[in-house]
């Protein structure tokens, strides 16, 4: 992961004239609006429609106040995983009121948010199914209109459906899964006392069960996507960057990689370190990257069920690095010379 200082001040913009309408909001809603604007990427801020934002805030609170579990969701979870209008890089749209109107009658009387999310997943499966299409990061309503999407689209859709009725939800991404899948995958996590995973639009009878249950126990890295800054960004280059929380340890056993990068015997700070795994075609797939600290070092957790990792520093194209084995609960030290 790319280490980034989570400083709201870096991306916060002054309130533009178009946001005058915010002044009419109650203090609670204003705090929520401020939170959303604070973590909206600068490039999206100018296009952020005030009416769209206000609808997201109003209906987030309507959901919180009308579902039985709403009062049990603390502010941290509510702000982080209910309020956000976006999961990854999809267009910003007005999905919340529509989805709330459709889903509250379906799950609004359930006492258990996990049961409610599973019911929503059944509903979502009836609205959209998986298709192996080019990655475009579709909005929830686009996926619903198309009736199909890839795993990213379906996860964005299910996360929105859950958030619309006040269930904390987030997308989870793995850059590579073994056992024949041999590629990226994304699914949904929902909060019901703890995080549970669901195959997006792929309902099962119980939570924490999906066709990829076996695959993720051998994953290299698993990232939970976050709207709010976490201090770490995905940093994989081949997909849009986003704040992430490393949740690898919740899915598989892990070991620690400790890498030191030097040039002519001197530590190299600020050097990018890349971690890759060989896929079934023996091509190297990037699963993590991070920058060396002031001492030229990086430390990260990696899935220990992966047979082999390739670690390199500085320039991914040169592939100058070495293969390493990561054992469960142990630390593997690597010294890379540039």
């Amino acid at each position: 992961m790319k280490e980034v200082k989570a400083d709201r001040g870096e991306i916060k913009r002054p309130i533009s004239d178009s946001f005058e309408v915010f002044q009419a909001a109650c203090p609670e809603h204003r705090k929520a609006i401020d939170f959303l604007r604070s973590w909206t990427p600068p490039e999206d801020l100018e296009d952020l429609d005030a009416e769209v934002l206000i609808e997201h805030v109003e209906y987030s609170y309507i959901a919180k106040e009308t579902v039985p579990w709403g009062s049990r969701i603390g502010e941290e979870l509510f702000f982080g995983y209910v309020l956000p209008y976006r999961t990854w890089a999809e267009p910003i749209e007005r999905w919340r009121k529509l989805l709330y109107s459709e889903l509250y009658p379906l799950v609004g009387r359930s006492e258990d948010p996990v049961e409610a999310a599973m019911e929503e997943n059944r509903w979502a499966a009836g609205k959209a199914h998986f298709e192996d299409i080019p990655v475009t990061y579709k909005s929830p309503l686009r996926t619903m209109a198309d009736g199909c999407g890839d795993c990213i689209d379906l996860s964005i859709f299910l996360v929105a459906a859950c958030r619309s009725v006040g269930i904390p939800a987030r997308g989870v991404f793995s850059p590579w899964m073994p056992l024949g899948h041999d590629g990226t995958h994304m699914w949904t996590e929902i909060w019901g006392g703890k995080w549970h995973y669901l195959g997006s639009c792929e309902p099962e009878r119980v939570p924490d069960r999906a066709w990829f249950s076996m695959h993720i126990k051998r994953a290299a890295k698993v990232y939970a996507l976050s709207f709010r800054g976490t201090g770490s960004m995905l940093g994989l280059g081949y997909c849009p960057d986003v704040w992430v929380e490393d949740v690898t340890e919740r899915y598989t056993t892990v070991g620690t990689l400790r890498a030191k990068v030097t040039a002519d015997g001197t530590p190299v700070p600020g050097c990018r370190l890349y971690v890759l795994v060989p896929n079934s075609k023996n091509e190297l797939v990037l699963v993590a990257s991070s920058e060396t600290d002031a001492q030229g070092s990086v430390e990260m957790k990696l899935g220990s069920q992966v047979e082999l990792y390739f670690v390199c520093a500085g320039d991914l194209r040169k592939n100058c690095g070495q293969f390493v084995y990561i054992d469960t609960g142990r630390t593997e030290e690597v010294h890379l010379k540039m």
Binding site: L179, E204, R209, A210, W211, M214, K217
Partner: protein, 85 residues
């Protein structure tokens, strides 16, 4: 027997045109019989229903689905019988 019931489930889930008794106890399910992730989930659902047990997320491993023998051992352990069922 647990083995026989699991073989019947395999035939049903994988739509195999064989008699269940023709499946070997140690035949590899993924590489040999053509079991895939989706079919494995259906098999789990069938096993849960057939034997009245619950398979937990942490128990869903590749090793579990290696063969009829590994699945049978797992079922017996869950049932607490240890021996034959």
């Amino acid at each position: 027997m647990v083995e026989r019931k699991i073989k019947e489930l395999l035939v049903r889930v994988l739509h195999l045109d064989v008699d269940p008794s023709e499946i070997g106890d140690h035949e590899l399910l993924f590489d040999g019989l053509g079991l895939d992730s989706l079919a494995a989930l259906k098999l789990v659902a069938g096993i849960e229903e057939e034997f009245g047990i619950r398979v937990e997320d942490e128990e869903l491993t590749v090793e579990l689905f290696e063969s009829v023998a590994s699945l049978s051992e797992f079922v017996r352990r869950k049932l607490g019988t240890g021996g034959t069922v």
